[in-house]
Structure formats: structure tokens, C-alpha cells
Amino acid sequence: MIEFQNVTYNHQKDVGVNNLSFSIPENDFTFLIGPTGSGKTTLMRLIYFDLFPQSGIVRAGDYSSNKIKKRKIAYARRDIGMVFQNYQLLEDRNVYDNIALPLHVLGFPAKEITERVEECIDLVKLDGKEKLNPTQLSGGEQQRASLARAIVKDPSILLADEPTGNLDPVSAFELVKLLQEIHETGTTILMASHNYNLIKGRGYRIMELQNGHLRGNG
């Protein structure tokens, strides 16, 4: 579950978020929509404790911003998967190693790592591309690899910050379809996008951010 209680965070120059209050229940799929610079990324960063609110409280899973200790942030993030517009894949290692990395961090045994990574590669349809480096993949493939890395540890929350921002319409559509499949396994998903056409009519909740304020929430 994700919960914001009167959360405000302002950047020195840019708009942040202002007095936001909302909650996203477990197993929910929510779209966060708004133009560039409306505060979507700030909101996401507050959820994975990369930023801390100047006022108010953020809760994500079992952790809340007013109680979490600095050294516990790493543990809080272990239950959150993240997908970024620029993929954030590590270019110094191949697709397989990128996807396996979170499992090594969590201390999974080698055998289970192999099983889980292969399962995820199947799911995101990257079979045969495991040995390639991210730079050898198309944008859509890189984003699918990034998604596989986010879900391989089976997080209860998946945050996708403009995951389709750099993709062509077909790849973007396929990625949202994949997110829907992942959601069906019981993962709470919050996906930020500025592309309303991509998300409308899917029957999921849509929250709208404008200049750091929540305009629509339903």
C-alpha cells in the first residue's frame, strides 16, 4: 500500500508536490498523469525514499518517511521495483546480469537466480537476447529488460516513471500490456505518463497532477 498524507516537497527551482493526500491500496493499478514538470517524478522519488517530504508523511509498504532510518532505506527499496524512462540499465554487463543483479543484492542462491531470471526473460519476451549488452537492444527491448529487472525480485510495489516516454506507440502499447499481466499476479502498480491516449479506457484509476497539485483522483 502507498499512502500520502498532506505531503509537500518543493525543489529549489522546479515545482515539486503540494499538500498531496491519497492512498493506493494493495494490488491496485493506478496511472499518474500530468504534463512534464507537473511533479510525477518527485512523487515517485518520495515513494522510494529518494526524497523526503518537507511536510506530511509518505508510507510505502511497511515503511514510512517519518520513521525510517537512513540505513533502512535500502531494505525498504527491496520491496519496490522501479522502471525509468531512460531504463537505467547498466551498460557494462549483459541483459542477464542486469536482470540478475537485484537477486544477488537480496542474497538469493545461484540456482534460484537462474530460474527466476529465465522466467522473467520469458515473460518480457527477450529470449535469445540474454547475452547482449543493453546498447545492442532497441528502446522497447531495453525497457522490457528494465521491467524484468524490476519484477525479478517479486516486489509488492512496482513504480514505472514514464516507462513509455522513449518508446514508439507499438512498443509502448506492449509494455502497458505487460504491466497489466504483472498486475494480475498481485503487484501494486503506479505508472506515471504524460500520454493520456495510452492509458485511457483501460478501466484503471487515473490520478492527475498539475503543478504539484492533485486535480483528478478516480
Binding site: 527499496r77 547498466l90 544477488h104 543484492v105
Partner: protein, 290 residues
């Protein structure tokens, strides 16, 4: 266990993944360790060199004409007792005639009808003292002895050499400390640059939920490997340098000096490289992970 294996292998793989930065770091370590190693070899052999140079110091003491061979031996005994003198060998009057004949090809008796050559003494000095040889004082003491006519020596050169040697000994700890400090700073900054170039990896690891110690460990193993690699290159280079120097000294300069390397030098260098690279990596990654 799997996680530890991952951390170690990750550290080693990183050296290969980032060949250019690793090469720069290993090369910097190598050059720095060579300088430190040469300095250590210099320190180890400097005494040997000064011993050799001192063995070449020679003072010729010529006695007055009326000093007999027996009196010359008594004076030579007094010279031998002076602090800093190793030996005093008397050259009797008849030996002087033989030396003259060897050097000039003529018998001085045939030329002059008598032997005008005085008895003399060749003085050699102690080689093993780390203290400065008080050459001028010794010469003055010899000159003040009854029966001594002329003392021939290479005083200016000897004094210069002894002065430089003393300066070197006095400054050795300071210079060694400075060289090691510079080595530490150079290696630390090289490793820091190498770590800094991978801040995206560090950020990604943080987002995935890696703890600080988990992020640091591969960098520490990587530092250790780079330290090991550079030491592996340094030791044969040092041996090559010493053998080359010995060849030049003995075959070209015809000096009877043989430089040596402490067989444990590579252990010292490996230890130094390991400590510097591990500390460098750890501190560099810590400063980025703040």
C-alpha cells in the same frame, strides 16, 4: 556464500569490464610502486656504494728524508690508531725504488747514484661507519706528526662525497615518507576517478536496495586485484632493473659493486599496494555514497 562469491567475482569482473580505467589505475600503481621500490633498493644499497667509494679513498704519507724504515713503521702504527683509519701500510725506501722502476722503467740508483726516495705510508679508511668520515681532521693529525713531510690526498672530492652521503642519510626517512605519501595520494585519486566514473552503477545499486557495504565490497576486491596485478608487474621490472644496473656497473664501468634486492621486497610492495588500493577504493566509494 553465493553472495560472497558474487561480490568477489563482481570485483574481478569489473577490472575487465572497465579495461581503460583499470589499466590506468594499474599503470599508475605500477609506476608509483616502481619509484617506491627503487627508493627502497637505493636505501638498501647506498651503504654498499659508500663502502665501495671509501675503499677507494687513499692517502699517501711521505716522510722526511732522515726518517728510517723502522721509524716509518712506528709512525705508521700511530696513524693506524687514529679513529677512522683502517690500515696504514709502510712502503720502505727500497720498495719505493722498485715502484719507481715499475712506473718509469729506470733504476734511480743508475740515474742519481743514490736513493732520494723517502719511506712512505699508504693509509686506507674504515668503510662500514654510517657516520661521516672526518677526513680533514685525520689529515691534520697525520700532518702534525713528527717526521711527516707531505700528505697527498683527494680531500675536496672525499669531503664532498661524505657530505652528500650524510645529507642523504639525514633526509632518507623524510624523503621515503614523502614518496609513500605521494604514492598514496596518486593511487587514491586514480582509484577515486575509477569509482567516480561508475556512479551510475552505484546509483542503480542503491535503487535496487543494495546496502552500502554491499556496494562497497566489489570495489574493495577490485582495488585488491589491481594492487596484486601491479605488484606482479613491479617485481620482475625491479629485478630486471637491478640486473641491468649490475651489468652496467660491472661490465661497462668496471666497478666491483653488486646491487642486491631484498627477497622480501615484493612482499613489502604487495602489502603497500594492497593497503593503498583497498583504502583508496573504500574511501573513494564512501565519499560517493554519502
Amino acid at each position: 556464500m553465493d553472495q560472497l562469491f558474487f561480490l568477489i567475482s563482481e570485483g574481478f569482473k569489473n577490472v575487465w569490464r572497465h579495461k581503460a580505467t583499470s589499466f590506468t589505475a594499474v599503470f599508475t600503481l605500477y609506476v608509483t610502486l616502481i619509484i617506491v621500490g627503487l627508493f627502497m633498493v637505493g636505501g638498501e644499497n647506498i651503504h654498499k656504494i659508500i663502502q665501495y667509494v671509501r675503499s677507494k679513498y687513499k692517502v699517501d704519507v711521505f716522510y722526511e728524508q732522515n726518517v728510517s724504515d723502522l721509524q716509518a713503521k712506528v709512525i705508521a702504527e700511530k696513524i693506524r690508531k687514529i679513529r677512522g683509519v683502517r690500515s696504514a701500510t709502510v712502503i720502505e725506501k727500497k720498495d719505493a725504488v722498485n715502484i719507481f722502476r715499475d712506473q718509469f722503467g729506470e733504476d734511480i740508483f743508475d740515474v742519481l747514484g743514490y736513493n732520494p726516495l723517502p719511506a712512505s705510508t699508504v693509509v686506507n679508511f674504515n668503510r662500514n661507519s654510517a657516520k661521516r668520515l672526518k677526513f680533514n681532521a685525520i689529515i691534520e693529525e697525520i700532518k702534525s706528526m713528527d717526521g711527516v713531510d707531505v700528505v697527498r690526498h683527494q680531500g675536496i672530492l672525499v669531503n664532498k662525497l661524505e657530505r652528500y652521503y650524510q645529507k642523504l642519510l639525514a633526509n632518507f626517512p623524510f624523503v621515503s615518507g614523502l614518496i609513500v605519501l605521494i604514492a598514496v595520494l596518486v593511487i587514491y585519486n586514480t582509484v577515486k576517478l575509477s569509482v567516480y566514473s561508475r556512479r551510475k552503477l552505484i546509483y542503480s545499486m542503491q535503487l535496487i536496495g543494495a546496502t552500502k557495504s554491499f556496494i562497497k565490497m566489489p570495489f574493495v576486491f577490485e582495488g585488491l586485484l589491481m594492487g596484486g596485478l601491479s605488484t606482479l608487474l613491479v617485481y620482475p621490472s625491479m629485478l630486471g632493473f637491478i640486473r641491468g644496473s649490475n651489468f652496467l656497473i660491472q661490465s661497462v664501468a668496471h666497478l666491483k659493486i653488486s646491487l642486491s634486492v631484498d627477497p622480501f621486497l615484493w612482499l613489502w610492495l604487495a602489502g603497500l599496494a594492497a593497503i593503498i588500493s583497498i583504502l583508496g577504493s573504500y574511501r573513494a566509494i564512501s565519499s560517493i555514497l554519502k
